[in-house]
Amino acid sequence: MRIFILFSILLISNYAFSQKLELGKVTVEELKQKNHPIESNASATIIFKNGISSFRTTGNGEWVLDTKIDYKIKVYNKEGLEQGNQSFAFYTGGTSNEKISISDAFTYNLVGDKIEKIKLKSEGEFVEKINDNWSIKKLSFPAVNEGSIIEFSVTKSSPYITHIDDFYFQTNIPIDNLKYTLQFPEYFKFNTIITGYEQIKHEHTGSKHIYTATNVPAIKDEDHVINKINYTTILKLELSSISYPGEIQKNLSLTWDDVVKNIFENQNFGGELKKKDYFDEDLKTILVDAKSNKEKIVLIYDFVKSKMTWNENYGIYTNDGVRKAYKQNSGNVAEINLMLVAMLRSVGIEANPIIISTRSNGVAIFPNRTAYNYVAVVVEDQESLLFLDATEKKLLPGMLPLRALNWVGRVIRDNGSSYTEDLYKVQPSKETNIVLASLEENGVMKGKIRKQITDYYAYLFRNSKANINREMYLESLEKEYHGLEISDYKVDNVNDIYKPIVEEFSFVDKGNVEIIGNKIYMMPITFLTIKENPFKAETRKYPVDFNFPARDSYNFSIKIPAGYKVEFLPEPVSVNLIENLGNFKFNVSYANNQIQTVVNYEINTFMISEQDYGALKQFYEIIVNKLNEKIILSKI
């Protein structure tokens, strides 16, 4: 069997290598193929994707970057028909614009034993002008059926030579053959990096680089992934320097320091940090009684938060500028947070901007001016670092919004120097539940709960649930707790963000205790139980992302009805998930007619690797099983 498997793999790769990456060579065999030889459920496959990027100069001496990509795509089933529609975005917001042209676009079908070739005419080409900056070229191929092959060549000509589009080696369908050739004048230098999990071969002769790969699987959709792009195989390129003969080398970006220098010297970044006049007067009023630096930091932070509203635009550069933003009380991320840095510095506090790539932007992995799209604030003193971000009104000093909590950021100092800083130095958010309940003989449980939440739990509560009308919130809470009836609800510290949120309410629970025969059955933490394992898949390809580290605890006391005794209590358990990444402790005890359950649950990390997935799945299996085991009471 082993030999056979090896042999079949060889065959497949053979098949892949035998492909010539040329358009117009469609064969009857290809058209007849019913399923993808490796991923039999694939709706379509890219038989090849062959790209070439090269540079040329125009008549007036301007550089142009041409990227021509040839595609040959095979459709297997009806879901694959969507390949008949293709679209390409291009930038039209500058003085000179990007252009897209399509050529050699055909649909191939098998009619009897003959190959029918149908041209994509202009009636199937459209340009949608999204707004002033962006347009999309769209293609609708004719006569695309199950079994069809479509081919086309798309060329993008761009005057923006420092920005080369990412080349995707992986997409939502398999790619059998990939080739990307990058050819550039010898006086250009590039930074490159390949992200993701697939093997890419790289060869070069002089300034001609060739990247190839075969049989790249479709990118997989998995839950608990914050941004799939981080795990997708992509070639990222950046022009790092130009050195014309006889001229001094012009560094566009080569190291992180260069990238930072570029950013720092940009008027919309560094320049904005120097302006002070617009807030001076206001700041004096606010700080009139402030003594320590600590007080000043909090006062200034709270001032910016209350004055400024974030307009939901990202960016490391200001848009309208800090002065105008200050005047109109709203601005983008850079305007608000650079303003905060300037204010803190103006009173002698060592505050620096920290540039970040957000979760939606992916991880910033190599020196690149466009790698960052967010800026927050770091205050440094001898002992510690303090993150600040004034775009979110409910955030505490020390916290970053979840969108910005993504691996590492880069702190830019006053003198333009920089260093990386771990963003994951985050204390676990805590949820503490204390329940005092008593059970009646008819199975109705009545009691009181006190739930306290901190950090991100509290932040999320303040941002969403706190604005909901009370009655509606309680109704949704009753729905979440499946049959609970809630009264005497009270919540503290919603507006005092420096204190944890404390919710208290009384409940009547008629739905979670069962009486069978003359025995009573109930789960140890009844309505608070975790019902199902969030990790159901058998295998895992990518790491499991967690939003933030968390510690939840439950202390659940139930007074049992008179005339009953405890017949069965679940055994205690204590599980540790890989070097303390997770912990679960569970204990049930009985004394003085009270059953007391104590549960502690922790996830101490942002990420668990795919290798540890099995252990993670099992960890949750134990938790779910334990929390759903039944306490049994019987009549004395």
Partner: protein
């Protein structure tokens, strides 16, 4: 299946109008308290003035003064206008005031965002929008919005919704329409359940006004907003649509207009196609059998591609273009199928309908352009079979929940007919579960089970057929999410499109299904538990409806290890109510073998709010019965 008659949707959104007087009381302090209850925003004043100057010219002027109380109310601003080749936005502007009525900001046309309408499914459409993207710096604030729109399309006069969303109250709102007498102006009032709305009619003019309409709350199972709230539709007997003069005096004249101006000149097909379809049909005489052959031909040949330009929003592409290109939208594909059917002597009619999961009718007593989707109707047994022509996978004659159970307009060359499409209620949407289970000494459950689903239950399941094995496994784990650590050993799926049945066979193992800590205890309902209990409301405000009825029947044999006898078991259950019937029955069929039988019929229905608590209690009883457990003790 997709929507396509896109323009309706756009134009139906509320249009408006003009003149803004300086004496508006803009301070939010003057808002009556009751208008702020349950409200995220308050329409302080809205005037819509529509002037129909000729069959080919309509002006719509809008003035809206809205106070937004919190961030959730932002989406109610609706400072947006749509335009295209025949509709122009002549002016659009807004002014923002703070809670004291002090002007904060003026927003000119150039500060609105002008963008293409990405509807999410069209390859191309020529609709554009201009909208306000405002970041509030404080709440509450008041926005005064003015716009003037001019269009040559008079086929769609904006529908008036005195109140157009939940959580919004209306202090004062009016619409007035001036029209020419010879155009056949008409209107239809819907859901005028109270006398708050006043109608004023004079010669060549009609207006409506309302004041102090309180905000409504959204509640689970509420009928759709438009079904439950007042609106007035307006129309003309003689209208213009993208340069075509139309007649909507009655359904017959309207249908012949559609046929003669939008369909008739699209019908030509190439000889080759006609002879091909004739040879496919061969000697078949039965019209339905012929239709099946044609439908299969269309499903294999075409795919759904939406392109909407000018009259193309209402007029199908030429049948010969669909034939050549192999794609089209719902109009094009329905019309193409119609022409093919006619060419082999099968009667078939172009049919206009509202597509969507929420059932919406073409209103019989209001002759005008309605609907957003096209299908095909074939006369059969005094009724019609409907064909969804945009789907490449639907069984012949199966509408699914996109076009089921609602009124549609069947367009005939010499007249039209409003007919109801097939419904799939109660027994017609059935799921049968048959299973054999064995519980071993460890409490593990080993089972073979078989699902057979029809109607809407077929619809809900059939998409899983083409998914990868991994995705299918996850699907069943989610479906049976109460079975912790479920292992699926095999999956076999059969999609029987002839009988329209979806058949699934599974082999599964559930480790530790039965608790063996103290005797043997397990839940009798292994595979089909209802946990749905509608949310409890302290005061239910809206009526409610069950949109589609269904029937589930389960028969499960369970074998247990030897050496146990029953300690406690549930009695047989019958719950009968106007909402449905639930039955559970347990039989011993051998020493260690049980037969569990369950049936659950839920009726389609509309009910008054007073019935809501009864429905909740019915659902609670069902859910409890689905949780019934059996306990065995060792037979010592």
């Amino acid at each position: 299946m997709k929507l396509i008659m896109r323009k309706f949707l756009l134009l139906n959104l509320f249009f408006t109008l003009t003149c803004f007087s300086q004496d508006l009381k803009l301070s939010t302090l003057l808002i009556p308290k009751e208008l702020t209850e349950n409200a995220n925003s308050i329409v302080r004043k809205q005037n819509i003035e529509i002037n129909i100057l000729s069959q080919k010219l309509m002006q719509i002027n809008k003035l809206k003064v809205i106070t937004v109380l919190n961030s959730k109310g932002l989406s109610n601003i609706d400072a947006i206008e749509y335009y295209d080749g025949s509709t122009k936005v002549k002016s659009i502007e807004a002014i923002i005031y703070n809670s004291l009525g002090v002007e904060l900001k003026k927003i000119k046309r150039k500060d609105f965002i002008d963008q293409s309408v990405a509807d999410g499914f069209s390859v191309y459409n020529d609709n554009r929008m201009i909208y306000l993207d405002y970041t509030p710096t404080e709440y509450p604030f008041t926005l005064v919005y003015n716009s003037e729109v001019e269009t040559s399309n008079t086929a769609f006069i904006p529908t008036w919704y005195p109140i157009d969303d939940y959580y919004e109250s209306v202090q004062e709102s009016s619409i007035s329409i001036k029209y020419l007498p010879n155009l056949g102006f008409k209107f239809k009032e819907r859901n005028f359940t109270d006398d708050k709305i006043k109608r004023i009619e004079s010669s060549q003019q009609i207006s409506y006004q309302v004041d102090n309409y309180l905000a409504k709350k959204h509640e689970e199972l509420s009928p759709s907003f438009i079904k439950n709230n007042p609106s007035v539709l307006f129309g003309l007997d003689f209208f213009n649509l993208e340069g075509h003069q139309g007649n909507a005096k009655n359904w017959n004249e309207f249908s012949s207009w559609i046929y003669n101006s939008l369909l008739k000149d699209t019908e030509a097909l190439p000889e080759m196609t006609i002879s091909k379809i004739k040879s496919l049909v061969g000697t078949e005489k039965d019209p339905i059998e012929k239709a099946k052959i044609v439908y299969k031909f269309v499903q294999e040949k075409t795919r759904y591609v939406s392109i909407q330009m000018g009259i193309g929003g209402w007029k199908p592409m030429l049948a010969s273009d669909v034939d050549r290109l192999g794609y089209g939208d719902c109009k094009a594909l329905s019309n193409y199928t119609r022409v093919l059917l006619n060419s082999v002597g099968v009667e078939a009619y172009y049919t206009i309908i509202y597509g969507g999961n929420s059932k919406q009718n073409i209103l019989e007593d209001f002759v005008a352009m309605q609907g957003n989707h096209a299908i095909l109707s074939i006369p059969y047994n005094k009724g019609f079979i409907s064909l969804e022509c945009t789907s490449q996978t639907s069984p012949f004659g199966f509408n699914g929940n996109f076009t089921d159970d609602r009124f549609a307009l069947v367009v005939k060359p010499n007249g039209g007919e409003i007919v109801k499409t097939a419904d799939y209620n109660e027994e017609k949407s059935k799921q049968i579960v048959k299973a054999n289970c064995k519980i071993n000494e460890n409490g593990d459950l080993i089972a073979r089970l078989n699902y057979k689903s029809s109607g809407i239950q077929y619809n809900q399941k059939s998409q899983i057929e083409t998914k990868s094995k991994e995705t299918q496994e996850l699907h069943y784990k989610e479906l049976l999410n109460w079975l912790n650590a479920l292992k699926i050993n095999s999956i076999a799926i059969k999609n029987d499109k002839e009988s329209i049945e979806f058949i699934e066979d599974l082999d599964i193992i559930v480790p530790a299904y039965a608790s063996i800590s103290n005797g043997l205890m397990f839940n009798l309902n292994v595979f089909n538990r209802t946990s749905f209990i509608p949310q409890r409301y302290r005061t239910r405000l809206n009526s409610f409806e069950i949109d589609t009825g269904f029937l589930d029947e389960d028969e499960v044999e369970i074998e247990i290890p030897n050496g146990y006898i029953v300690d406690a078991k549930p009695s047989d259950i019958v719950i009968t109510d106007k909402f449905g019937v639930y039955k559970m029955e347990l039989k011993s069929i051998a020493d260690n073998k049980l037969l569990y039988k369950r049936s659950y019929l839920l009726n389609k229905g509309s009910y008054a709010k007073e019935e809501y608590e009864n429905f909740r209690s019915f659902s609670e009883q069902v859910s409890r019965a689905d949780n019934a457990k059996i306990i065995f003790k060792r037979n010592l």
